[in-house]
């Protein structure tokens, strides 16, 4: 038995029905803890972004000042556990640490100390570009599989808006791919050691430097189904040698799901296995209180990266929508 996370309810349900949970509750909890991961990465000698820990609002102010003293103009505050932008605050300016501290909710300290990290961006610390690759994992009792490398499409404040595979730049930089896989393996073994089993991801920052080099940092682990889990599995099933792009789209005029699929079909965009080799696969519809679809996730399956981007452009033209940006 498995869930988005393994909690007390799932554990009790499994016990009552004579089943076992895939992951232990402790594994699910510890595997999602950003602070515990950071401490492990440091101890394992993997590169980490400049980080301070803060247990109280007073310590948070001090941590922000230390990050500023290290030469950062911006930073990010992360609670021990969080997801989808909850438990994460981007600090655009580190000039007034006390003002920032007043804005951070108390629940950021609920799971113990939070992390305060420097924000790497082009123009400082020799950085020319920051990318966001991710390694998709499946952990069983006796094996760890890294089954896909994806690129996350993130908002300015690092909220997931889509993803694609394979990151096109990795074809030309095999050494970056090898380093991503090496660090993903180290992080995944830590995750396995926490007792977590199931799907997950290791998210990275790949920081390109002005001198042509690059630094690779493990950013976080998602010990759960991620935004890339279903797209990766579906793409492997339907078009294993192809490229795929998943994008969240928001509908300016909400509409019934049936009408949405009919629009895709009428325009010729809809993916129909056996009839079309490529196309748009609707993965998820989010309905509002009115029962209509307000936003959705759409998987563009094509033979090449350029092809998947063209499919997305066509879908955006054929549907009454815009990219869902945070």
């Amino acid at each position: 038995m498995d869930g988005y996370v393994t909690d007390d309810t799932l554990t009790r349900l499994a016990r009552r029905t004579g089943l076992q949970t895939l992951s232990s509750k402790a594994g699910s909890f510890l595997g999602n803890n950003k602070r515990e991961l950071h401490l492990f990465l440091e101890s394992a000698g993997l590169p980490v972004v400049a980080t301070e820990l803060a247990t109280t609002p007073e310590e948070l102010g001090q941590a922000l000042r230390q990050i500023k003293a290290a030469g950062f103009r911006s930073g990010v505050i992360k609670s021990g556990i969080g997801a989808s932008g909850i438990g994460l605050v981007k600090v655009e300016s580190l000039e007034d640490a006390d003002a920032v501290t007043r804005e951070v909710p108390d629940h950021f300290f609920f799971e113990g100390s939070c992390l305060v990290q420097g924000w790497l961006s082009p123009g400082s610390h020799g950085v020319s570009r920051v990318r966001s690759p991710s390694a998709q994992l499946f952990l069983s009792d006796d094996s760890i599989m890294i089954y896909d490398l994806t690129e996350q499409i993130l908002s300015q404040s690092s909220v997931h808006e889509g993803n694609e595979s394979t990151p096109p730049y990795l074809a030309e930089r095999r050494e970056w791919r090898e380093e991503l896989l090496r660090q993903a393996g180290v992080a995944a073994r830590w995750l396995h050691g926490q007792g977590y089993r199931g799907t997950g991801s290791v998210d990275f920052l790949l920081v390109e430097l002005e001198d042509g080099g690059a630094d690779v940092y493990v950013c976080e682990i998602n010990a759960r189904i991620t935004g890339a889990t279903y797209p990766s599995v579906l793409a492997r099933h339907f078009l294993p040698e192809g490229s795929r792009l998943l994008r969240n789209l928001r509908f300016e005029t909400p509409l019934p799901g049936e009408d949405l699929i009919a629009l895709l079909e009428k325009s010729g965009d809809l993916f129909r296995p056996g009839e079309s080799e490529t196309g748009v696969f609707p993965v998820n519809f989010s309905a509002g209180a009115d029962g209509l679809v307000h936003k959705g996730q759409f998987l563009c399956l094509a033979h090449s990266t350029a092809g998947s981007h063209v499919l997305l452009e066509m879908a955006e033209l054929d549907l009454p929508c815009s990219p869902d940006r945070h």
Binding site: M1, G3, D7, D8, T9, R12, L13, R15, R16, T17, G18, L19, F238, P256, G257, E258, L260, I261, L270, F271, R272, P273, G274, F281, P282, N284, F285, A287, V293
Partner: protein, 60 residues
């Protein structure tokens, strides 16, 4: 187990067009899920329909 009913047209696409096999679904709003967890701890709700559904699951 889902928090709300999935979109019927999307499920039809998955099954009839994409040829996927969907698992049996059980809808349980989140506050009911939490209440079920509490009742399982105290054994106040031994016959919840979800438990019967899970016991009858072909996956077992």
């Amino acid at each position: 187990m889902l928090e709300s009913e999935p979109d019927e047209s999307l499920c039809r696409y998955f099954e009839d067009v994409a040829g996927l096999v969907l698992p049996e679904r059980f809808v349980l709003p989140h506050h009911h899920y939490l209440a079920l967890g509490r009742s399982l701890e105290t054994n106040e709700m031994p016959d919840h329909p979800l438990i019967e559904t899970l016991k009858d699951s072909p996956a077992l």
